[in-house]
């Protein structure tokens, strides 16, 4: 029986089709899913009627009984950083062919907000989570809650020590190594480093820088390493400080491209030339790295691959019911030579 408010835009349900065709709802369900014992004739009738009525599955109802929402949550520190935008693109693109939707939330680097958003995802019964976390070291509460709910999750970009979880990220040591080796190969012998914020990945890039210097037979001078901040303003300020250190550097490895862009501006404002006086290497290969005043030599971190591999790994975990040992995937970075590092001397 139609409700009195039937004239209101009510979505058509399986019940409507069933009543129409004088069959049961289950028959309709089976026909639409093409599953279970059902005659070809009935199936065709149902399918035709469904198309006529413009029937659309109510996923909320289906999810309630199947306990599958075909939705995964993606939790990011921010949207506008092109790194995360690219990750999001890769995740969505990898998930889509498998019928998954991606809910994205970003938490502005706020651990509290991150936790609350994650809980909210759990309440929405996501099938899995991909997280670039901002939880401080040794704060595993959030992840323990997720594990208790048995929702598979993958960490990306920022690993979490002491946590048995799968991780996908760049090989940050390799970034530091590649950049520094390149500067050495180009003949730099006083190589500085703008090491960015005090987070794990910065430490790893710094370690790569240190190892590469040692392997190249160069000493590391603490005064050549300046840290703090990760925007272009921070890069500008820190480079100005670095320029005052004597003997002056002839090469800088910057934590990120924005930092490098700020640094190049500082060098030019200081009346010096990139790359003739100082070579600059960034990291990230963000868009427009190649349309700058001096196109920036940088280390590409294969951003798309990070998102894609994380998504694949998550899909795999969702498929399996039993817990499987966590995996760590390090995406190898790649040097992109442009014009901010000088030619062979």
């Amino acid at each position: 029986m139609h409700k009195w408010y039937a004239w209101l835009a009510m979505a058509v349900t399986m019940m409507d089709i069933a009543r129409d065709l004088k069959v049961s709802v289950v028959t309709v369900s089976k026909a639409l899913r093409n599953q279970g014992k059902i005659s070809a004739a009935t199936r065709q009738r149902v399918l035709r009627r469904a198309k006529q009525l413009n029937y659309q599955m109510n996923w909320v109802a289906r999810s309630l009984v199947t306990r599958r929402t075909y939705t995964v949550g993606l939790l990011l520190p921010e949207f506008t950083h092109s790194f995360f935008a690219e990750v999001a693109r890769a995740v969505a693109q990898t998930m889509r062919p498998h019928g998954y939707h991606v809910i994205i939330s970003y938490f502005e680097e706020d651990p509290e907000l991150e936790a609350s958003e994650a809980d909210s995802f759990l309440a929405r019964q996501v099938d899995g989570l991909i997280i670039a976390t901002a939880q401080p070291a040794r704060c595993l509460g959030l992840f323990q809650r997720i594990q208790k709910r048995d929702v598979p999750y993958i960490l990306i970009d920022r690993p979490m020590v002491g946590l048995r979880a799968s991780f996908v990220g760049v090989d940050n040591r390799a970034i530091g190594r590649l950049a520094t080796e390149h500067l050495i190969a180009r003949g730099c012998c006083r190589i500085g480093h703008l090491r960015g914020p005090g987070i794990g990945i910065a430490a790893e890039r710094h370690e790569g820088y240190r190892k590469a210097l040692a392997k190249g037979g160069q000493r590391m001078h603490a005064r050549y390493v300046i840290g703090g901040g990760h925007g272009d303003e921070a890069g500008y300020e820190n480079m100005r400080r670095l320029l005052r250190v004597r003997p002056m550097v002839d090469g800088v490895f910057c934590f990120s491209d924005p930092v490098a862009i700020g640094a190049m501006k500082a060098i030019q404002d200081g009346g010096l030339n990139v790359p003739n006086d100082i070579s600059v290497v960034g990291a990230g290969n963000i868009h427009y790295s190649d349309v700058l005043a001096v196109p920036l030599t940088t280390v590409d971190q294969n951003t798309y691959q990070i998102g894609a591999r994380a998504a694949e790994l998550l899909l795999e975990r969702i498929g399996i019911k039993r817990p499987v040992p966590p995996r760590t995937i390090l995406i190898p970075p790649k040097l992109v030579e442009r014009e901010s590092t000088r030619r062979m001397p």
Copy 2:
């Protein structure tokens, strides 16, 4: 009775709390929602137990009965364009305080994919939709389907003629006008235009350009207007073509910042100087517009406002049940003067 697989990670439900406290599920539901007739004592007992058991609402079940998912869909042509990333940020940020989540999907400028994703959103019972559509002119099928389902939706950035729907976007004519008037004010008298792809907003910016020229007493030369493409490569190529037109332009209004960046590169590669030989104005004020070789004068389109206003409008529509007349909101753009346009002659 617990199921045999109770040891498996089963989320705790209201039923669990109710059995624990020897009350009915409804009482628990009322307590948690703080609604309906219930004593303060019972409420406290329920709340405490819920916290102890780490209860989390099953939104799928709730949505099924309330017909509200507190989820809105955001349908974008692409992710990585910083304009859309910023819109997404604004939408999410505006929605969050109201308890809404945002599902983002992008369709790579493919109308078919757009339609299929929109249908998928409807199946997931989103409470509303925000769409930057790529449907060709006069293809209203998708929107009619949405309207039949009575799901409120807002168009952003790209209007759709012949559709009674709310729209939020920049005032594109004002962009063209602002940019061109600025070039005129700076003494340019042969102003070209790289007009970008053949879509509506490009036509509007072009119209603003045309009107401003007329108002400034300058003739428009068709040969000074070159179109096609919207990336930096397209900007580079089109600017090369424009440079061959005699008498040579002394100012260019570019459809977008990427196009302008490409154009500046082409000008410099041609041995000319920005802004002394040719002034360049972009549109969009994307990140890094100010760290380029020559910081780019551009027209800021108030991206955040577009997302925020669209979200506010959608929230308003979701609140109302009866249909309300559609509204069009044009966000006024703002000129950002940097160094790619020459000083007063």
